[in-house]
C-alpha cells in the first residue's frame, strides 16, 4: 500500500507539489497523467527517495520514505524504470540485471541468473545476456531496464515516461512488455504521455495539474463525458495529446 498524504515539495522558492494526497493498493495499475511540468516526475522521485519531502508524509507498506533505514527497506520493494534507461554502461546485460538482487537482497548468483535469463526470454532478448548496453538499440535498452527492475521482484514498479526517449517504431515493443506486466498483477505506477495505452492497461487514472491532484478516478470514469472528460482542463489536455 502506498499512502501519500498532503505531500509538499519545493525547489528553492517554487513549490512543485502543493499538497498531493493519493493512495495506491497492491495490484493496482495507476497511470499518472498531466502536462509537462505538472510535477509527475517529482512525485515519482519522492516515492523512491531520490527527492526529499518538504511537508506531508509518504508511506509505503507503512514504511516512511523520509527515514533512511525505512527507505532502505522501501527500495527493496519498489523498483524504478527510467525514461533514459540509466543502464550501467560498464556491465553486461546480465550483470546489469543481477547486481542488485545479489547485492541488496543477498540472493544466490545461480538462482538470480536463472531468473534473469527467464526475464530476458520474456522480453525477447534471451540472446543478448552478454551484450553491453552500448551495443543495444533504445527499445532493447528499455526492455533491459524493465528486466533490471523486475529482477528485484518488486511489489511496486515505478515507470516514468519509459517510452518518451524511444523512436516511435520501438515504443511498441516496450509497451507490449508493459501490457503483459499489467495483466500479471504487478502494482504499477505509470507516468506516461501514451494516453491510449494508459486507458488500455490502467485501472485508475490520476491527473496532476500544477502540483495538485485534479482528478483521481477509475479509468472508465476519467474518459467519460460526465467524469474527468467533463473537466475543462482535463479535456483540453486530452485534446492536445490527441493532436500530437
Amino acid at each position: 500500500m502506498i499512502e501519500i498524504d498532503n505531500l509538499h515539495k519545493k525547489f528553492g522558492d517554487t513549490e512543485v507539489l502543493k499538497g498531493v494526497s493519493l493512495s495506491i493498493a497492491p495490484g493496482e495499475v495507476v497511470s499518472i497523467l498531466g502536462a509537462s511540468g505538472s510535477g509527475k516526475s517529482t512525485l515519482m522521485r519522492c516515492m523512491n527517495g531520490l527527492a526529499g519531502l518538504n511537508g506531508g508524509s509518504l508511506l509505503i507498506d507503512g514504511l516512511d520514505v523520509s527515514k533512511p533505514r525505512e527507505l532502505r527497506e522501501i527500495r527493496k520493494r519498489c523498483a524504478t524504470v527510467f525514461q533514459h534507461f540509466n543502464l550501467y554502461p560498464h556491465l553486461s546485460v546480465l550483470d546489469n540485471i543481477t547486481l542488485a538482487p545479489m547485492d541488496v537482497l543477498g540472493r544466490k548468483k545461480a538462482e538470480v541468473e536463472a531468473e534473469a535469463y527467464a526475464l530476458l526470454k520474456q522480453v525477447g532478448l534471451a540472446d543478448r545476456a552478454d551484450a553491453y548496453p552500448g551495443q543495444l538499440s533504445g527499445g532493447q535498452k528499455q526492455r533491459i531496464g524493465i528486466c533490471r527492475a523486475l529482477a528485484m521482484q518488486p511489489r511496486y514498479l515505478l515507470l516514468d515516461e519509459v517510452t518518451s526517449a524511444l523512436d516511435p517504431e520501438m515504443t511498441g515493443e516496450v509497451l507490449d512488455v508493459l501490457a503483459a506486466l499489467a495483466r500479471s498483477g504487478t502494482t504499477m505506477i505509470f507516468v506516461t504521455h501514451e494516453i491510449a495505452f494508459a486507458r488500455e492497461i490502467s485501472s485508475r487514472i490520476v491527473f496532476l495539474d500544477d502540483g495538485v491532484v485534479r482528478a483521481d478516478m477509475p479509468t472508465d470514469r476519467f474518459f467519460a463525458e460526465d467524469g474527468g472528460y467533463g473537466d475543462e482542463r482535463i479535456a483540453r489536455f486530452l485534446a492536445k495529446m490527441r493532436n500530437k
Partner: protein, 209 residues
Amino acid sequence: MFWDGFLVTASVSALSIVGSFLIGVIVAFGAVSRRPFLRKAARGYIGLFRNIPFIVQVFFFYFGLPEIGVYIDAFTTGTMALSIAVGAYAADVLRSGIENVDTGVIEAAEVSGLSRFKIYRRIILPIALRVSLRPLGSVFINLVLTTSILSTITLNELTGNAKIVASDTFRPFEVYFFLLLFYCVLTYLLSLLINLWHRRLNRFMRGAE
C-alpha cells in the same frame, strides 16, 4: 650496472603508481564528498602538492626530516614522495572523471538499494576509471620520468647510474644519449599499453546512457 638502475627505476615506479593511485582514489572521493570538511581537505591536498616543485618535496623529506629525527632511506623516501605528489594529480584526474559520471546511472544504483560504498565501488569508480584512463596514463608516465629526480637524493636508479657510468667511462654523450633513448622507448611502450587498455575497456561504452 645499467640493469640494476633499471630495476630500481622499475620498482620505484611500480610501487609509486600503486601508491599514488590509492591516494588518488581516496582523495578524489573526498573531493566530491557532500561533507564540506572532507571536500576542503581533499581539494586542499590537491592544490598543495601540485603547487610545490617535486624536487623541493623530496629534499624536504630526505634532507629536512632527519633534522627533526625522522630518518628514512632514499628508496622509501622516493617512493613515498612520488606517491604523495603524484597522488594529487591522480586525484584531480579521477575527480573530474567521477563528476562526469551520468547522474541518472548513479540514481538507478541508488534506487536499487545499493549502499553508498557499493555505488562508489561497483558503479562510479569503474565508470570514472574508464573515462580517466588516458589522462591517468599521462600522469603515470610523468611519474616514471620523475623518478630520475630521485638521483638527487642518492638513489641509484637509471639516471643516477648513468651519471656514475658517464664519469667512469668519460663518454657522457653516448651514455646520456642511450639513457634518453631508453626513457623514450619506455614511456612510448607504456602509452601504447594504456591506449590498448583504454580501447578495450571502452569498446562498449559509447551510447550506453
